[in-house]
């Protein structure tokens, strides 16, 4: 077999990672997507076949989750061995038969940590050359989320990693309960838009081609998040904070800041994203990261008269918010 050279990003096979707690409605949503997308062939990877069947020609059970630490001592370099194997086999299948499938959806088990799933696509070279994550979608059961977030850190992590949150069973809770839940989810993750799903019914555009890992995607922070004060009923381990500045940042200092935060908190730093203005650059610089994996690129050129606002969002477990904000403050160019 000949291994092909890496394909261009735009031609990589898009992969959607579907997370959410047991009973949240992942399978219902998945069946809905599979029914609607008649034009596209979707390969589905599951860790275990649930009670509810999935209606698809290409569905693969990857067996038990297999967590593999890649580099000795590099805590954040854990990948999912089961996915490496399955995605490799799927690639071979598609190379001999290109019409086999157009995209992949991975449905994780309820308790799965999305970190190693995401890192599989960045650390394993054969996988990253062929596949690209479109987005991590997290289905949140409006009826049971509050208890689950209290009881399981995995539930908080799945929300923290999400590019988009899909709220199911909203008809089973009161408007007040829903408002409280939304506020809590925003504090965990202010950059993931929330969309209701009713028995899996949701516009397909909300779940496919989301571009959650694309550097070009706009960094939207839930309005109101920045002005919120820190007094809340729930004290979740997974929280987020944002830093904004209308004064340019110093590139070298921000780089040193990231080296420090990654050295000290990589394991707890789940997702981060930024659009920043550096002193002396006439275009923005965009970046994002998962644990200690990071990407950056030139963004668009600032337009004439535009308020050049740098915005950075960090989502993680027990991050020392005020200390980190103070350090970011010192990254403002003098």
């Amino acid at each position: 077999m000949t291994t092909l050279a890496p394909v261009a990003a735009s031609r990589k096979v898009p992969v959607t990672i579907l997370t959410g707690f047991l009973g949240a409605g992942k399978t219902t949503l998945l069946n809905r997507i599979l029914r609607e997308r008649h034009g596209e062939r979707i390969a589905v990877i599951e860790n275990e076949f649930g009670e509810q069947g999935i209606d698809n020609d290409l569905i693969i059970d990857s067996g038990a989750e297999q967590i593999v630490e890649m580099n000795n001592g590099c805590i954040c370099c854990t990948v999912r061995g089961d996915l490496v194997r399955i995605l490799g086999e799927l690639r071979q299948r598609r190379e001999s038969k290109p019409e086999a499938f157009d995209r992949v959806i991975i449905e994780t088990t309820g308790l799965a940590d999305p970190g190693p799933v995401a890192q599989t696509f960045f650390i394993d070279e054969d996988i990253s050359a062929y596949y690209a994550i479109d987005a991590i979608l997290t289905v949140v059961d409006a009826k049971h989320a509050s208890e689950q977030l209290d009881a399981f850190h995995e539930a908080q992590e799945q929300v923290g990693f999400a590019d988009r949150i899909l709220l199911s069973k909203t008809d089973l809770v009161s408007a007040d309960e829903l408002t409280d839940l939304r506020a809590r989810l925003v504090r965990i993750n202010p950059r993931a838009p929330m969309k209701p799903v009713h028995f899996g019914e949701t516009p397909i555009a909300d779940v496919i081609d989301v571009g959650g890992f694309s550097l070009d995607s706009i960094l939207e922070i839930e309005p109101g998040f920045l002005d919120e004060e820190d007094h809340h009923e729930h004290n979740d381990d997974v929280k987020s904070f944002a830093f904004t500045s209308t004064r340019p940042l110093d590139a070298a200092r921000l780089q040193a800041f990231f080296r420090d935060i990654i050295a000290e908190h990589a394991r707890d730093l789940m997702r981060y994203k930024g659009v920043v203005e550096f002193a002396g650059f006439d275009h923005s610089v965009v970046f994002q990261g998962v644990h200690m994996m990071m990407a950056s690129d030139a963004g668009r050129i600032w337009s004439e008269g535009e308020v050049r606002e740098s915005r950075l969002v960090f989502i993680g477990r027990n991050l020392p918010k005020s200390a980190l904000l103070a350090r970011l403050e010192r990254c403002v160019a003098s």
Partner: protein
């Protein structure tokens, strides 16, 4: 399974390599993986017609001359492939394949995490 990403390119490229400045230690092909990558990128781009091998030889020779002058004047010496990389960046910038801004912006994450942890 790793490919040799164009390393076994056509023999004309290999012949053309003879026109390049000579390496310090011809017994070691590449000291680090990035060197092989930098080499391959240049070969691939000439194969794709983005610039000619002759243009590359001129560009690289100029870079080597400049680096040699810096070193002679007591400046920091650069390895063969550091000079190769500098020349490749200049060539690609001149040909509009990338820009100084883009190189600087991409270098941001690289400077934070090192090459093993940069997302592609």
């Amino acid at each position: 399974m790793k490919t040799s990403h164009g390393m076994d390119s056509n023999s004309s490229s290999r012949l053309l390599c003879k026109s390049l400045p000579v390496r310090d230690d011809p017994n070691v092909a590449f000291a680090e993986p990035w060197e092989a990558k930098a080499f391959a990128i240049v070969v691939k781009l000439t194969d794709a017609g983005r610039f000619t091998w002759q243009e590359w030889v001129e560009c690289f020779s100029k870079e080597v001359a400049a680096a040699t002058a810096v070193e002679a004047a007591g400046g920091v010496p650069k390895t063969y492939y550091e000079q190769w990389l500098d020349a490749a960046e200049r060539m690609m910038t001149e040909k509009g394949l990338t820009s100084k801004e883009q190189i600087a912006a991409r270098g941001f994450a690289l400077g934070v995490t090192g090459v093993a942890h940069v997302l592609k």
